[in-house]
Amino acid sequence: MRTRITETIARPALLAAALVPAAGMWLVAVDAGGHGSLNRWLLVVLVGAPAAALLAPLAARLAARPARREATALVALAAAVATTLGALAAGALDGSGALAPGRGLLLALAVTVPVAAVALAWRPAPAAAHPADVGASPAQPADAAPPARPARRAGGTTRRGFIQIGAAGSVAVAGLSRVIPAAKAQPVPFRLTITEGDVVMEDGTPVFFRGFRATDAVKDVPSIPGPPIGNTGPGVKGREIFEGDEVQIVVANSTPREHVFVIDKGDTEAPSAPLFDPVTIGPHETATINFTPHEAGSYIYRDADRNNRLLGMYGAFIVMPAGGSGALLPYRQEAPNLPIRTELRSQHAWILSDVDPVLGELARVQRRTSKIDYPLTKVLPRYFLINGETGVEATRNEELTIPVIPLHVEGAAFAGVLIRCINTGVATHSLHWHGNHVFIVMRNAVPEREGLVFEKDVQRIEPLQRIEVILPAHTGFEAFPPLNQNHPKVKEQHFPMHCHAEMSQTAAGGSYPFGMLTDWHLVDSEQTAVEVRQRLADERRDGRQPVSADQVQAAIDERAGNSGPGGGDGKSGGSNGSGSSGGSGDQKSSSGKGDGKG
């Protein structure tokens, strides 16, 4: 807990104490007109500094979970009050006459506020609240000491909170994720804060969410999805949780309404096999939840109310099997579980979600309402996310979402990638892998039974369901000429994964394929994997550059100019046939990406 004390109590206390001499100097200089000022200043500091150190942590408790701005105000206030107290005491002691407490306080604040603001803001903050920015930082356990481990060689160095906790000991090299359970860890709390706010969608629309953020997040906006608890993949790795570990989750509710926190093994709206009794957290209250998960698998932590979940109150909770001797496998290799004979190369979590902005607007104006009345028959999701992103970002997110897998070699130590598909949404999704079929190995934290294996290219996943699949990463056996060393593109093959309930491939009613879409890359070697990850990271960064309006318009014109309504023959569209074909002649400007001729 030492880190926690340092972070949460000592830092504001020290800062507040340090502010007292500065404020005291100003106060004494202005108030005492110069006589006996050094002695008086010393008195002020002597009384004020300890008072400030005591007051600051107390003041910090005024807010359920102060974000940076609130913390600044509270520290400054504590220091100012302490300085004023010191000045009052000094006035009484040296008999120079009492100063007006109100005036003193204002004078002290004039110094403490700006200094505290500067002192607490020294950490650089990200520029914009994109869901991925906040979504990626794990619910950070308190003893977040940076572990000594090999640096990630590619791609993992963006501004994302990249925290790997040493307690459980894990190795992350070039996307390889192996888990080595260490001695049983003390229950270090995972800290979440319930909050609300706008998150900007792919088309620029701000949508109001209720959600969770890491309690020590730098911005007070919901993380979509909530911060992961446990190991959700190579890009972001929180402290891993193993079967039998004691887990403590501290949930602060910064909203003026009640919420109910639940983790359920089942997939029904009303919890059928909760890991602990659902916990009600009152407005501005904090709940500490202790429990011990006994079954490995993927779970969803969430608000018990469906609409609150649809508003963004969900996150992944991942439990690794105990006794695995460090092998990355989703469950214990014992009867009657379906055996997985080879250790897996890495794991990813794909947290699927649906977004209905209308519900968000209801939530915006019903801040005190815990359960918003919005029946399922009215729900019309308008955005469809994987790990809080749509296709555009998700096809570049090599840290979190996209497997970049070296080709499976017969007899290799590792094979395949475990993908935890977690449907936090309200729609039944239909995940389709191009390039390889996947093996279904686990559903709702229950391993598949030995003796019956489904190898699928489409997997149905209902709301609240979690389905683990293995993407094997073998060559595409239907390529001709085959994908061997003679094939010019054997170095890297690139395939999408998307939901085949095609409504989900849109954003705001259109913009295919800005929906529930991502990619995976099949590469010929570890070295190529490093290169591809680096390229994706670069593209992700550069991809934020705007494209000129002329270039967009030219591309649109080229497509729109091909024909009118009816899709091509100019007949079925009715009266517009001649108009459209007339237009197509001068619209065939090339976009520069192909020969553009029909």
Binding site: V379, F480, A501, Y512, A555
Partner: protein, 393 residues
């Protein structure tokens, strides 16, 4: 039918404010993938003589493929947009499709049926707009996978080439992967069946896949394609929803429910089908039928076989046999095909783009109704249903 205001705005191609979208580079690349007018397929097999040489070239064999087998199979799929389908209430629905090499224009588009080991060439001709063909469930190289952002969209002509592996006989489908949400619903899809390579059949009928149990050899077959039509979508422009335009493509609200091209009549009569697309099945007791189900629409479908369920086993899904073990090599290892009785498979729901292969071995004569029910993907409400029947004599 009222014209969609969105489509109306597209009548004038020079109306620059139709799509007022601001894009970043990532969005631009995903929305405007590379396109080709006419390019050569890598490693294209030009003719029978070329194929004869290549099928005997060890350097051109995928792992596990024997030398010297397979035919060169050429298909033509030309996009048409003039299709019309009349619903039982008299409403005419406009649809698209792929016209086949014999000039047939139907919905779903004509099936592609080949034998494992064949070399398949599907010649896509797109007329004026961009399309692709994704052979769904087939695992070719990415250029032949038919996805714009991982390869290219086709404006003109491209020949997709691939070769089904001996291990992968089964039930697939193919569809356009450009603005897929709209184009598949518009009818740019069809069945894709890969029969196992069996030069000398060991019994009467066909096997569903190479190492299927002999008792699954079938004499009768049906391909059931659940499909539903949202009439509003069929009035949209081919670019509807393009570039931040709201075309309501997140709301699929079907009014007509079909098996293939045959809509369910409101009087609940079972869909019988016709010679081109037979649906209802009549078979003698004691024989075997193989039912292939290809889910081609966007809401989950629940199937109720009633009393017929006791005679049905699931043996295949998504072009892969059910097996006893995982084989991460992608090719069968020590594991063997297995099955699960239909009545022991709790979901009974088939999700969009999923396929199932069912072995039906009825022993008791009778007329068995079969019901397909569409459930809304969010609310789970019943949207509509289709009926057909199996008559065992």
């Amino acid at each position: 039918m009222a014209e969609n205001p969105v489509t109306g705005t597209l009548k004038l191609p020079n109306q620059h404010n139709v799509f007022n979208c601001v894009l970043n580079e990532s969005q631009f690349e995903l929305m405007f993938p590379p396109q080709v007018g006419r390019i050569e397929t890598f490693g294209f097999v030009t003719d029978e003589a070329d194929w004869e040489a290549k099928r005997n070239d060890p350097a051109l064999m995928a792992p596990g493929m024997p030398l010297g087998i397979g035919e060169l199979r050429k298909f033509k799929r030309k996009v048409f947009v003039s299709g019309k389908l009349v619903m039982p209430d008299g409403v005419e629905i406009r649809h698209w499709g792929f016209e086949d090499e014999n000039g047939l224009k139907t919905i779903p588009s004509s099936p592609i049926r080949v034998t494992a080991g064949d070399l398949v060439q599907v010649d896509l001709q797109t007329a004026k707009n961009r399309h692709t063909i994704h052979h769904h469930g087939i695992e070719p190289d990415m250029d032949n996978d038919g996805v714009g952002h991982t390869s290219f969209e086709v404006l003109g002509h491209y020949i997709y080439q691939w070769r089904p592996h001996l291990a992968n006989a089964g039930t697939y489908f193919y569809h356009c992967h450009v603005n897929t949400t709209l184009h598949v619903q518009f009818g740019l899809f069809g069945g894709l069946i890969i029969d196992p390579f069996e030069p000398e059949p060991k019994g009467p009928g066909k096997l569903p896949f190479a190492d299927a149990k002999e008792e699954w050899r079938y004499q009768h077959e049906r391909i059931w394609v659940p499909y539903a039509i949202d009439p509003r979508w069929h009035t949209l422009h081919h670019l509807a929803g393009f570039c931040l335009e709201d075309a309501g493509l997140n709301s699929f609200d079907p009014k007509y429910f079909l098996l293939g091209k045959h809509p369910q009549h409101p009087d609940e009569r079972p869909i019988i089908g016709d010679a081109e697309q037979p649906v209802a099945l009549t078979m003698p007791a004691g024989e075997t039928a193989y039912l292939r189900i290809i889910q081609s629409t966007y809401h989950p479908v629940e199937i109720d076989f009633g009393a017929l369920g006791q005679f049905i086993e699931i043996v295949e899904s998504d072009g892969r046999p059910l097996r006893t073990e995982i084989s991460l090599t992608g090719l069968p290892g020590a594991e063997v095909p297995t099955s699960i009785p239909w009545n022991d498979w709790p979901p009974k729901r088939i999700t969009p783009a999923e396929r199932y292969g069912l072995v039906l071995k009825p022993t008791v004569p009778g007329v068995y109704p079969v019901h397909f029910t569409f459930h809304h993907w969010v609310s789970n409400e019943v949207l509509g249903h289709m009926n057909t029947e199996v008559t065992v004599v």
